[in-house]
Symmetry: C2
Subunit: 332 residues, 2 copies
Amino acid sequence: MGEFELIERYFKRAPQRAVLGVGDDCALLQPSPGHQLAISSDMLLEGRHFLSSVDPLRLGHKALAVNLSDLAACAAKPLAFTLALALPWIDPPWLEAFSRGLFALADEHGCELIGGDTTRGPLNICITVFGEVPTLAGRAQALPRSGARAGDDLYVSGTLGDARLALEVFRGTVSLPAPVFELARRRMEQPTPRVALGLALRGVASAAIDISDGLLGDLGHILRASRVGATLDVDIATDLVASYALCTGRTAEFDVDIEVGRWRQFALAGGDDYELLFTAAPTQREAVAAASHAAHTPVTRIGQINAEAGLRLLDARGQPVRNDYTGFDHFA
Amino acid sequence: MGEFELIERYFKRAPQRAVLGVGDDCALLQPSPGHQLAISSDMLLEGRHFLSSVDPLRLGHKALAVNLSDLAACAAKPLAFTLALALPWIDPPWLEAFSRGLFALADEHGCELIGGDTTRGPLNICITVFGEVPTLAGRAQALPRSGARAGDDLYVSGTLGDARLALEVFRGTVSLPAPVFELARRRMEQPTPRVALGLALRGVASAAIDISDGLLGDLGHILRASRVGATLDVDIATDLVASYALCTGRTAEFDVDIEVGRWRQFALAGGDDYELLFTAAPTQREAVAAASHAAHTPVTRIGQINAEAGLRLLDARGQPVRNDYTGFDHFA
């Protein structure tokens, strides 16, 4: 099978919203009147962003999910994406499963594949995604990183740290009962982009980012862009590791020997969470709850934005916790 | 140096046209009123699309050039691009030269870097480029592959085959005098995207494609999309190999022993030409000449579109030439 047959067989579908789809030199895309286009690009490499053993269906899902997560953080509605794919060889069952996982998530969000590139090389998936945000008096109603204000509440969606926990199982540094591992592994391999929540937070949140490199690292981006500081409740964040409750005897289901410091590490600097971290004024608490409800996505208040620069970590008793947690750096 | 410092040092510039530039979850882009966005994506891998010995400044140029070439083929005006970059390690002199070559070409075309991704891995450059095309009564004034009509003239811009000739020198199958090799190598490593010509051909050409996989292969895409055939003058096309005149004694400068069949191969199926192949009605001959003049880009009429399907190759005496030339397939 050659390059063109590969595209034809696994990736070509009739164009929907795009004026010209897969197969011309360019795709043509028209944002709705009064909207701007939001654009983000992510590259996933075998061995760095996913393990070679991953189910290709989950990988197809994840490759698009991490890009949709960036749109979610900007409150952009998904429209379309391009896919550039380097493959070491043409493996029809792999391609069949990969494209099925990819299109299942794409269809769920009405997000159309409009172009791309394929070549032979070490497995590498590069997706660029397009969404739209309405403009008001010429200004895009996106959620920037720079909008956090002193006094704002700090929230996070969903759960934290489970993807990192699964990675540590693969690395052999922890062992888990099979059902807990399965839960954690699914969070690592098939994350849910919080698109509905991002859209529901338009006009409610003051700043947002998606957590890909770890809670504290990505919070740092908001604090720097907004020129503010924050206080964070470490124990509330740690309670958001879904496996934590299952493993610490709180539900008495399993008894796993992982010290509390590592659980905190997973929650605060795990990476690969793809949850939304956002800020909103205290006057917006009911609106945040309504957005969470409308998007069927739990959100938890984990701290507060301060005028004073820097990040202060406190435990449940209000005692300071030393910040030994570094974010995930793809060159570290 | 980490991921964020790398972006900060080599790739971050103040946003111009983009509303949000490098450094937020998404970039925001607004096409001009009455325009659609043209989008294309290309991935370049070491060892497949470029040699590891290539000057990084030329590589930065080429990575963007091959994408701008796709915009040119759609008659789209360049606006912006994203860059996803996998690097085996952080090499400051390499990054300095790569980004310089990249931005030199970007600035020449007013094309702004608005986002992307960096990660550690086998050297891989994935660029997605954005241009705009005006719409008329809701229809984009792009040059599709599907617009060729029986009776149309067939044209190609610039020169053909020199990039392939240089590749064959690297492969050791031909040897060339140094000045001829330098010319051919520059065509391979630093191609010129025909953006100005593409724009000048709006409303003049009926169909267009950029030649990346070889003249015949890419002509095949136009013929299939337009449901037509073509007749092509093989010797006129072969005369477009810039090194040919220098090497065949026509200018008596060099005497190189390469048989005519191979020169034809370079011209017809060389790959990496990044010239525009386009069709236009015979009534447009003066307009094509004017576009060529305005864009400072030579164009040559190399054949004709026919209603009869299939591709007929003729030599200078009008005798049929067997089509033994296959295009470049990245999985072959």
